[in-house]
């Protein structure tokens, strides 16, 4: 407090000899300053400050450079430029440097004894202002581009737009800041020098990692009822296995606790968890059945027959099924109703996947096409010819950007499904029978009895797999476990859980999919999720379409209305002459009245055409005048005229 009084008050009275001094300022310098600053006007003082700054720089042995090196460094800045290459800050050295310079300048200003009067203790904040946010993080949370500013006189609209933009920017920054604090990091696997990661065996990895993670690699030997299809629940805690010959089991696979096990005494085509780990659907030989986690059959849905593959759309509560008869059917599991049944007219449907970004169903066909479906349309949204020969497997990544397909032509292709363009094509000697993409973009492909995992299939041409593992018997089902570095493989001899470091998203969202949720939390989540169930009508190729302004003009809207109503509400009715009494409604009279009206209409038309013609004429005249005015000037080309 005392220091504060000294720093602020005393200069007012002219007692400059008591002013606090920085240790690097020499005593003679100080006295010199004092003599000069006494009672000088504002401008002179500013000039002096500049001189002082210069002197200060001179006083330091390295010519002022040392100030920079003495500055404390924040943990994310590292000692960049010298040793560490932090990829977060690398993208924006220019901007940061500028910012640092600004901070430096500001600090220097603060350090001036008579410039920074607000300083209380004499020490300035070493980290003024909010910490900078890495640009890539900001980009990740960007939701929309800038809106074009309206005209000057729309002051109200302008105000609203400015405010909303400020709000969204703040939200973006907050989210990006929060992203820095996430607790977990993704896994990785790096080989030593001249060691391929694909040569590292599962046992080696399991030995190298901690016990709990090591226990996630296991084999279930189930050779009696195989081959197996599998499905992980959305939280990644539960595993559902369905053997071809009728064996269905659900397991809490991390604690290895068996929840139920049953034999349906029929062939099983596919199994799928519904919205929670308390219900699952089994596509059996004839009908679709729904069981609960105790193995009790809840429903047998006879409307869904010969189902081969299923997909569950978690936000829509829809179970999409593809059948051997060529039908794609949607079952709303919250109300138990069939939402849509589409006859695809393409024969047996045994290749299916969903786009998690927009809930569109992708079907692969024996003629090499992949078709995209929504429940709102009887026709395919898109048909893509992907392979020569049949499509064996399709999968789409989490962001809905890439689709990976494999076909009978032994090729594996990557497509950009926003632009519907092929990106890469790979040749696999035996072709991939099953494909699956993980949350972080690892691709697993089953070629015969070997499971291969690839990294970055879309950005760089891949020459060899990231990991490989041989299982017993041919692979029948493949799936990455969400939020875990685990790949489940269902094959003829049972089930294998593989460790694939770097596959799973390290940080889950507790309000959406929480692997550690309690029963109460799950119940609450269920209610909330049901409340915000998205209606099937909202499934489109672009899920954010609902947020755009409908810029349809009057004609388009009118056309829609006519289509919806079945007639034109604004259309002119045909003139029907009124029936007049007392013999005045003779045929001739009616005809005359009709002709009158027709004549009137004709006059309208004529009037309009005349007006249009006049307008055209006027326009032509104006153009002519303009031309004449232009031709009045002499141009350089006029000398060629005769």
């Amino acid at each position: 407090m005392l220091l504060y009084v000294n720093a602020v008050k005393l200069p007012l009275f002219g007692h400059f000899h008591q002013r606090p001094v920085r240790y690097w300022q020499g005593t003679e310098g100080k006295t010199k300053d004092d003599n000069k600053t006494e009672g000088q006007p504002e401008q002179q003082k500013r000039q002096q400050n500049r001189i002082k700054k210069k002197r200060k720089r001179d006083e330091q042995p390295d010519g002022g450079k040392k100030v920079i090196s003495r500055r404390p460094v924040r943990y994310w800045q590292g000692t960049e430029g010298k040793t560490k290459d932090d990829n977060k800050t690398e993208g924006q050295p220019e901007q940061q440097k500028r910012q640092q310079n600004r901070i430096k300048k500001k600090r220097k200003r603060d350090e001036q004894p008579d410039g920074g009067k607000k300083v209380i203790s004499g020490k300035s904040d070493p980290f003024p202002g909010p910490p900078p946010i890495p640009k890539d993080k900001l980009e990740k949370f960007k939701r929309k581009g800038k809106i074009q500013k309206p005209l000057q006189h729309h002051y109200k609209l302008k105000d609203i737009i400015t405010r909303s933009e400020e709000a969204s920017e703040m939200a973006q920054k907050q989210a990006a800041r929060f992203d820095l604090l996430l607790p977990e990091d993704a896994g990785f696997l790096e080989g030593d020098e001249d060691e391929d990661t694909c040569m590292i065996s599962q046992e080696d990895i399991a030995d190298a990692v901690d016990i709990t993670s090591g226990a996630k690699h296991f084999n279930l030997k189930l050779c009696q009822f195989g081959p197996y299809r599998l499905d992980y629940s959305r939280t990644g805690r539960h595993l559902l296995l369905g053997g071809r010959r009728g064996h269905v089991a659900c397991v809490d696979w991390q604690s290895k606790q068996l929840m139920c096990e049953l034999n349906v005494m029929e062939s099983v085509n596919d199994v799928k968890w519904l919205h929670t780990e308390h219900m699952f659907a089994v596509a059996q030989k004839k009908w679709l059945h729904i069981y609960d986690s105790n193995g009790i059959e809840l429903h047998c849905i006879r409307k869904f027959n010969d189902v081969l593959r299923m997909q569950f759309l978690p936000y829509h509560f829809l179970l999409a099924t593809a059948s051997a008869t060529g039908f794609l059917q949607y079952l709303d599991v919250s109300i138990g109703k069939e939402v849509a049944a589409i006859c695809t007219k393409t024969g047996r449907l045994d290749v299916m996947c969903q786009n998690p970004h927009n809930a569109v169903i992708h079907l692969g066909h024996p003629n090499g096409t992949v078709t995209l479906w929504s429940p709102n349309q009887k026709e395919a949204l898109v048909k893509m010819l992907c392979h020569q020969g049949g499509v064996r497997s399709v999968t789409v990544d989490k962001t809905g950007t890439y689709m990976v397909t494999s076909g009978m032509d032994k090729k594996m292709k990557v497509f950009d499904i926003r632009a519907f363009k092929p990106l890469r094509s790979y040749f696999l000697p035996t072709g991939a029978s099953c494909l699956s993409l993980s949350q972080r973009g690892l691709l697993s492909a089953a070629t015969g009895d070997i499971v291969q995992v690839y990294r970055d299939v879309w950005s760089t041409p891949v020459t060899k797999p990231y990991m490989a593992h041989r299982v017993r018997g041919s692979v029948w089902g493949l799936g990455f476990c969400p939020f875990e570095d685990v790949l489940g493989v269902g094959h003829g001899e049972g089930f294998t859980s593989m460790l694939v470091p770097g596959a799973g998203e390290p940080n889950f969202d507790g309000l959406d999919t929480n692997p550690y949720r309690s029963a109460k939390q799950r119940q609450e989540w269920e209610v909330k999720a049901l409340l915000e169930k998205i209606q099937p009508e909202l499934i489109t190729l672009d899920p954010s379409e609902l947020g755009y302004v409908d810029r349809a003009n009057f004609e388009q809207r009118h056309q829609d209305r006519v289509e919806a109503l079945g007639f034109d509400p604004l259309g002119k009715e045909k003139f029907v002459p009124k029936h007049k009494k007392k013999g005045r409604s003779s045929a001739a009279g009616i005809e005359r009245r009709k002709r009158q009206v027709a004549h009137e209409d004709q006059r309208d038309v004529i009037r309009k055409t005349v007006e249009d013609r006049m307008k055209l004429e006027e326009e032509r005249n104006r153009m002519k005048e303009k031309k004449a005015a232009l031709s009045g000037k002499r141009s350089a080309l006029d000398r060629f005229k005769k």
């Binding site: 990895i205 190298a208 993670s213 692997p515 915000e532």
Partner: protein, 445 residues
Amino acid sequence: MKVKVLSRNPDDYVRETKHDIQRVPRNYDPSLHPFDVSREYTRALNATKLERVFAKPFLASLDGHRDGVNCLAKHPRSLSTLLSGSCDGEVKVWNLTKHECVRTLQAHEGFVRGMVVRHCGTSFFTIGDDKTIKHWKMEAPGYGEEEEPLNTILGKAVFTGLDHHQKNAVFATCGHQVDIWDEQRSTPIRSFTWGVDSFSSVRFNPVETELLGSCASDRSIVLYDMRESTPLKKVIMTMRTNTISWNPMEAYYFTCANEDYNLYTYDMRHLENPVKVHIDHVSAVLDVDYSPTGREFVSASFDKTIRIFPKDSANSREVYHTKRMQHVICVKWSADNKYILSGSDEMNIRLWKANAAEKLGVLSPREKQAIHYSQKLKEKFQHHPQIKRIARHRHLPKVIYHQKNELKVMKEARRRKERNVRKHSKPGSVPVVSEKEKHVVSVVK
């Protein structure tokens, strides 16, 4: 070989004891939250539906009057006090929190025509059909004392309207003429006439406190400055205006309740055209009162409904009606912006919520947050057809519903006829007259 596999310690993600709250780690990565727009839309739709479910505006009915309620007065200092005057000359003071009458006095013979509480809140004035102005104390008389006015002024003619100055000891009455009275004197200090025989309402401007507005039976609205001896200007409309009310925030605007089923908001500086025409009532509008925020106003109509209009919208955002409510004669918006009070023909005063779906009482922070969130969502998706339809829907009594449709047909027919006339006349001889221009006859200065 360097390897790291995701391995979470469950202790970091579950609560330690069951007395703790659950740990909810968040990750706001957009790719983990797909369908954000559709989900928000669904939430907005649900919020809109819930708003309609919870829209129960009627709170209480205060009964006790033995004749129709003719006028209401707000207390300027106490939110819980309301004064009401009925057609049999009785004045009642109500405690709104307890829904009970705390004092009854027989103020006049015949109607109580107007009533106003003095700005200090200690006394009030009433006028009645017996040509008197009475000044009463707000406190009830002690035990054994008789109920007597502080002061009684006998006027020459019947008074029809009354308003008190915002700060000074001056009040204004109207009847045959507009009179300005000093509280200490028994004769008016100033009288205004402009060739009219009868005025129906007079109101002081709440900001420019020397200004007054009044409406007369010759279909005019007259503005006065108390400091001058003559009126400022008037606007003559096609039909008679019943009441006017000044906007308390932008006090150059006033809204008048007209006999032609509409309300008109005028800018005092430009009386040539109303700023807005508010149409929705299906019968004469009898009273209008602004909310203290000046963003909305409430109107009472002969069609047995109350409607709430945003100040710059042509249509009402809300309509209140009950089976038993008859012609609504007077209406007031409470000073805390939360309630609406209406007095009607069938002797009841009704207490309504200003925001029909609002939850009353103390809200927990989570409730508040949820309300704000859903409010924002509703605002964001308000133009989507499904949401717009649900938010706009109001049930109307059959009579009003049919009358509304009939009026619509009539209006359309008139428009069509005008269009035909224009089509068959010389171009320019039948000009297009906008709805705003239609109702103003002239402005006199």
